[in-house]
Amino acid sequence: MSSTAMTPAPVVSDPKPRQRRLMKDGRPRSMFSIISMILLCIIWTLPTLGLLVTSFRSRDDAQSNGWWNALFNPFGTGWTFENYRKVIADADLGNAFLNGIVVALPATILPIMFAAFAAYAFTFLDFPGKDLLFIAIVAVMVVPIQVAFQPMLNLLGPNGLGISGQYIAVWLLHTGFGMPLAIYTLRNYMSTLPYSVVESAKIDGATHYQIFWKLVAPMAMPAMAAFATLQFLWVWNDLLIAKLFLNSGNSTVIVKLQGLLGTQGQGQELLTAGAFISMVLPMIVFFALQRFFVRGLTSGAVKG
């Protein structure tokens, strides 16, 4: 894979080499791969493109012909920002967007906080019952969260703590539900860190608390970022928990979106705009943290 190309340099720099085409790094160019990837990418983008185009068309237009007509005949259709304006003003999506952030940030960060300490104990400390407890973590990962709804509605509802409907209820739930995966991911990553570093710090008299904060936590950043990405996507896009545990003033974008689908039909044209708005933030978050995503998630698994 080194840059010592198999073919002389002039051919590579030639814009249209006649012989077998090579890429900059010297690998042969595979036309089959290029064509099939382009096809796949088109198939993958087409549905989303349809949504984007439709979100800029008026209801009457969108109803009378397919969105691709607007693309083939861009001047024949009425483009409009009306859907976006209306969905933000009437459907209260601006407020819901804010709610989504208010819900998602703590619900993403808090589980990492608690999980990191647990993962540290699982990786660097020895204690009786360690295997059993970790197996318990692995086990609860597959528990369907639906089981929790009835008991949690009772516990957090007016006859229990009375916090159902408020943000805190949802933070609590997402923190709890995210915990097993968080501990699992972080531990997998931490177990790849050099044990000797921790060992020598211990000999120097550092407490576990110090070792955790000054050594392990910074080194485990990629795993934390990877989990944060997953958890953020999950919390932001969650429908059920938000629908059941938040009152209408606090409800998130996704709940509002589902409301647009269901109500008396006035919302149909707003749905496309709303759906697009709901996608923007998770995409930004994902692309910002993409770098860590693969590293943080695979380090533990690939070895296996």
Binding site: G50, P106, L133, V142
Partner: protein
């Protein structure tokens, strides 16, 4: 690395005599701080719920305080906890420390997952309001209902197809992308990954534009029907066709579309991690590219394949939003999670709903068993 530890950790070796005695000030301060922090934190968070007016009803302020309070508070909590335990005599301290680190995380898991699971199993033997035990009546009800078995069948179909196809497409995309130029690879991977950021509800809205049906005298709004009519056929009501489970399959397409990115990105990095010399060796032995792929690459990325597979399986078990929004189980397309939701919230049948979840719980046991088994094996190889 050693320089890092030197600067970071202040050498504060304890006197050997001192090590087995309790350090009373540390215990007192630690305990007191622990209680105070827990009390303050608990009240702060409850106040978010009870008295939002204290925070001027300002969401951003509440969220910011929750973040600061949550992260800072948790750090403080652990700090006092650490201090308290360190104050204890050494032997005791060593023994307790790991559990103290585990406690908050496990407390939440116990509260949110283990307690509800037990409670749900309990409720599944009780009536619609969970006020009276009814024995096995709920199970009799659901096992006697055609809809339930239909949902089970559909769930099995989802399980059999979606994870396998997602992994397969993921591998294909990863291999193809690997052969592109660096730039092309980055762009195409991003495009394939994009749907991962889309919610199930948003995805359903998107795919509505693909599956929509209009009468044949009208111009077709749905992409699929537009193609079908261009080919000279009548438009079809895609999501209503239960022959050959077509409607279920079409909804699976949506989930696959969403998840292939995740599968591809993990598998791609695994494939890149396959050492070049093993590939070279195989090439020298005269293996074809296809043979190399199946005999050399696949065995080496088996671990990642299993991880992706299990993750998607867990996701499929819980699939709800797509079915709820698109068909709500009509035309034999129901799945367990949607059936549960309707029993629970549309019909207020807590007993029957709980029984359905218990069946789901039993259904995931094999995966659980497999997870534990691989974990055990991993530990052995360590």
């Amino acid at each position: 690395m050693s320089t890092a530890t030197d600067t970071v950790v202040a050498p504060q070796r304890r006197d050997p005599d001192d090590i087995n005695r309790a350090n009373v000030p540390k215990i007192v301060i630690g305990l007191f701080g622990l209680i105070l922090t827990a009390w303050a934190l608990g009240n702060l968070f409850l106040a978010f719920g009870y008295y939002p007016q204290w925070f001027l009803d300002n969401k951003i302020l509440i969220a910011a305080l929750a973040l600061i309070g949550g992260v800072g508070g948790a750090a403080l909590l652990f700090w006092f906890l650490n201090m308290f335990i360190e104050g204890l005599p050494n032997r005791l301290s060593q023994g307790i420390m790991p559990y103290a680190f585990l406690l908050p995380g496990f407390g939440l898991i116990a509260l949110m997952l283990i307690y509800p699971t037990i409670q749900t199993i309990n409720y599944s033997f009780a009536n619609a309001n969970s006020t009276e035990y009814v024995g096995l009546a709920n199970y009799k009800d659901i096992f006697g209902s055609k809809d339930f078995w239909n949902a089970i069948l559909n769930n099995l179909l989802w399980l059999a197809l979606v994870p396998a196809i997602t992994v397969a497409i993921g591998i294909i995309v990863a291999v193809l992308a690997d052969k592109l130029s660096a730039q092309g690879e980055k762009v195409s991977k991003s495009i394939i990954f994009l749907p991962m950021a889309i919610s199930f509800v948003g995805a359903s809205a998107i795919w509505n534009l693909v599956y929509a049906y209009s009468d044949k005298s009208q111009s077709q709004v749905g992409l699929l029907n537009a193609i079908v009519t261009k080919l000279g056929m009548d438009p079809k009501t895609w999501l209503q066709i239960s022959d050959g489970k077509l409607n279920s399959l079409l909804m699976m397409v949506i989930l696959i579309w969403l998840q292939v990115g995740f599968s591809m990105i993990l598998l791609s990095s695994a494939i890149k991690g396959v050492p070049d010399d093993t590939l070279e060796a195989a090439r020298i032995d005269g293996a074809s590219e296809l043979q190399i792929f199946f005999k050399v690459i696949i065995p080496q990325i088996r671990g990642t394949i299993v991880t992706v597979f299990i993750t998607v399986v867990i996701l499929v078990m819980k699939v709800f939003d797509i079915v709820y929004v698109l068909t709500n189980g009509r035309d034999n397309s129901d799945v367990i999670a949607n059936l549960f939701f309707n029993e629970m919230f549309a019909n207020s049948q807590a007993g029957r709903a709980s029984a359905i979840v218990v069946v789901l719980l039993i259904a995931v046991l094999p995966i659980l068993w497999y997870q534990v088994k691989t974990f055990r094996e991993e530990q052995m190889n360590r």
